[in-house]
């Protein structure tokens, strides 16, 4: 493959902040990214992930803090001086230029020779598998094809860093899964460093080497996908990772990390994720998949079934526990609405957090 990404060792965000008037979009973001990593910035709308990317690209200034590429400070440079490749959410393809001209634009701006531009554009088109579409206008392409043009345009200049701002959010579900694999494949064969913004935890988990979970302008947790999936550090991160259930209760016993909590009259086991003391009000986070209908369990939570959705391999049901809390759980068979069910939860999969968290 002719295209290989340029060299650097690390990218560092140093107390990056951005405020719009009185609204703080980013609060002291610290982050170090190594060459070759695929890092996902994950969070709900408004968490600051796109703002971070835009500051990195130079499209919006930081209010304070800085960004360093090895020993060079880059946040004072204009976007055209940074040389990063960026894929925008709506692709931002130049509508009046052909696919070939779009992809070759960055090379043209760098003053490359015509023959070299043609050669590299051909390589890029082959890499994103768009042969045969070179002379079409963006308006004549499908969404998936447009997205591949956007990716080719960003990588053809062999940038040290590739930035992607929710590139898959405008595609249908099937195409999204296909393109996910493509993006990872391109990252691997390019040897690039990619920073990928998304609100979809499934995308982040499947693509990234490391995930940065953000919320309201601050970094909540950084870690490998399996770490974040199994052991989120905060309640809001857990919720974002699919721990839909929040069961309020009281801590009754604590041994190292293992806990015993009282919920709705039953004593359940769990794993503590933060310092806490016996008697503290706590919240237990559990995935619906980890809560099962188990009438024979020694310890279980009684609920009244309020909904039951067919999900192919199982049913996702909702119920109301004693105390009025909403609980989501899995069942092998369809349950009647209004029926009583007793739920068990695997102690190793239930995470316990203190109720009031910073």
């Amino acid at each position: 493959m002719g295209i290989r990404a340029a060299n650097f060792r690390e990218l560092r965000f140093d107390k990056l902040s951005r405020s719009f008037g009185s609204m703080q979009a980013l609060k002291d973001v610290d982050l170090t990214i190594e060459k070759g990593e695929f890092v996902a910035l994950l969070g709900p709308s408004g968490c600051g992930k796109s703002t971070t990317l835009n500051i990195l690209a130079g499209l919006t200034p930081a209010t304070s803090g800085g960004i360093w590429l090895d020993l060079t400070r880059i946040d004072t440079l204009r976007p055209e001086q940074r040389g990063f490749g960026m894929v925008f959410q709506n692709y931002a393809l130049f509508p009046h230029m052909s696919v070939r001209a779009n992809i070759g634009f960055g090379l043209k701006m760098r003053g490359a020779a015509k023959a070299e531009i043609a050669r590299k554009v051909d390589e890029a088109i082959a890499m994103v598998r768009l042969q045969g579409q070179e002379d079409k206008l963006p308006g004549q392409l499908s969404g998936g094809q447009q997205q591949r043009v956007a990716i080719a345009r960003a990588i053809v200049v062999e940038p040290p860093l590739v930035l992607m701002d929710e590139p898959l959010s405008n595609l249908d579900a099937k195409l999204r899964i296909e393109m996910r694999a493509e993006i990872r494949r391109i990252h691997n064969s390019l040897g690039a460093t990619t920073i990928y913004v998304t609100h979809d935890q499934e995308e982040a988990l499947s693509l990234a080497d490391r995930i940065v979970v953000m919320r309201e302008g601050a970094v909540r947790q950084i870690g490998a996908p399996d770490e974040l999936y199994a052991r989120p550090a905060h309640m809001d991160v857990a919720e974002f990772m699919g721990f839909r259930n929040r069961l309020a209760g009281k801590l009754t016993a604590l041994e190292g990390e293992r806990t015993s909590v009282r919920i709705g009259g039953a004593d359940l086991g769990g794993v503590a994720r933060a310092p806490m003391a016996v008697g503290d009000p706590i919240v237990v986070a559990a995935r619906p998949e980890d809560m099962t209908v188990d009438a024979e369990a020694a310890v279980s939570i009684p609920v009244t079934v309020t909904s039951c959705e067919f999900h192919g391999h199982a049913f996702l049901c909702g119920g109301i526990g004693s105390g009025g809390a909403e609980v989501w759980f899995r069942s092998r068979r369809r349950l009647a609405l209004g029926a009583e069910a007793r739920l068990g939860v695997d102690a190793g999969k239930a995470l316990v957090f203190p109720t009031r968290e910073p």
């Binding site: 976007p79 055209e80 960026m86 709506n90 393809l93 206008l137 963006p138 960003a154 405008n170």
Partner: protein, 296 residues
């Protein structure tokens, strides 16, 4: 064996072609258009072919054989074309700058104000402003840029300035709306690919603005070509700024030759039409699709 379906009624068939009771709502507009435009235009056209003496084309022959008359075409062009081009050329950077400004609404209002004043008021005002004792000359002399006043009245320049001032708001408004229609993400994408402000303008913005600018040129030109009060008040109606509308006016209200006046008006219309057709033909060669960046 099933029976054939009954033939649909006239109403249904008409509705299938897009004609129904809602279409009738267009009727008042069509009637007005006919009564106030198509009929008078048709009447004027017929009038131009029925001169006081001579054959059907006598008026037109007279126009194109008398230098005092056909020179007006050239003089009007010589006024309208440069003013139009200048209007559009100045409107582009102004619109780009105003789009980014914080008080863009206030700036837009100020720049559009001359439209509300009307050509006569502006012309009257310029009579004083551009005179030898007027503001402009006084300021330039005080600053030492000139030693004696510029002659800006009763000549080409007075009319030129008046046309510029009254025509600019229109060109500016149109250009502003076209500029706002270009997706800002396109410029951002160009910037990340290494294009500085100049190259972003020439490679991305301008090509996407050209179709809109062509329309702006057409409309501004038509407006400038029909100049009348400025030419009479600020120009030299007997000489260098004798525009075609003055010739038509004189034919109608001084010679009482309505037939000739109609002929001159038709010639004026044909000249404007020719220029518009030329510009639109050129526009047809450009990319005219949406100026957005893709899906979403």
């Amino acid at each position: 064996m099933t029976d054939a379906l009954p033939r649909p009624s006239v109403r249904t068939r008409l509705a299938g072609r897009g004609v129904d009771s809602v279409t009738l709502l267009a009727l008042p507009a069509v009637i007005l258009l006919f009564a106030l435009f198509i009929y008078p235009f048709g009447y004027g056209l017929w009038l131009s072919f029925t001169p006081k003496d001579g054959g059907a084309l006598a008026n037109y022959a007279k126009f194109f054989s008398d230098p005092f008359l056909y020179d007006t075409l050239a003089k009007t062009f010589w006024l309208a074309a440069p003013v139009t081009v200048l209007n559009v050329v100045v409107a582009i950077p102004t619109a780009l700058r105003v789009r980014l400004a914080r008080r863009s609404r206030l700036l837009t209002t100020i720049l559009v104000l001359p439209i509300t004043l009307g050509t006569v008021l502006v012309a009257e005002g310029l009579l004083t402003y551009l005179g030898p004792q007027g503001w402009l000359n006084r300021v330039l002399i005080t600053l030492g840029l000139i030693s004696h006043p510029l002659r800006l009245l009763h000549n080409y320049w007075g009319v030129f300035l008046s046309l510029f001032i009254t025509g600019f708001p229109f060109a500016f408004l149109l250009t502003l709306s076209y500029v706002s229609g270009v997706d800002p993400a396109l410029e951002n994408a160009a910037a990340t690919l290494g294009a500085g402000p100049r190259r972003r303008f020439w490679a991305i913005l301008l090509p996407l603005l050209l179709p809109g600018l062509a329309i702006t040129l057409c409309l501004s030109f038509v407006q400038a070509f029909s100049v009348f009060p400025s030419a009479v008040l600020l120009g030299a109606p007997a000489g260098p700024t004798r525009v075609i509308s003055i010739a038509a006016y004189q034919a109608a209200f001084e010679d009482y030759d309505y037939s000739m006046a109609s002929a001159i008006a038709i010639i004026m219309g044909v000249a404007q039409l020719a220029v518009v057709a030329l510009i639109l033909a050129g526009r047809g060669l450009l990319y005219r699709g949406p100026a957005g960046g893709g899906k979403g």
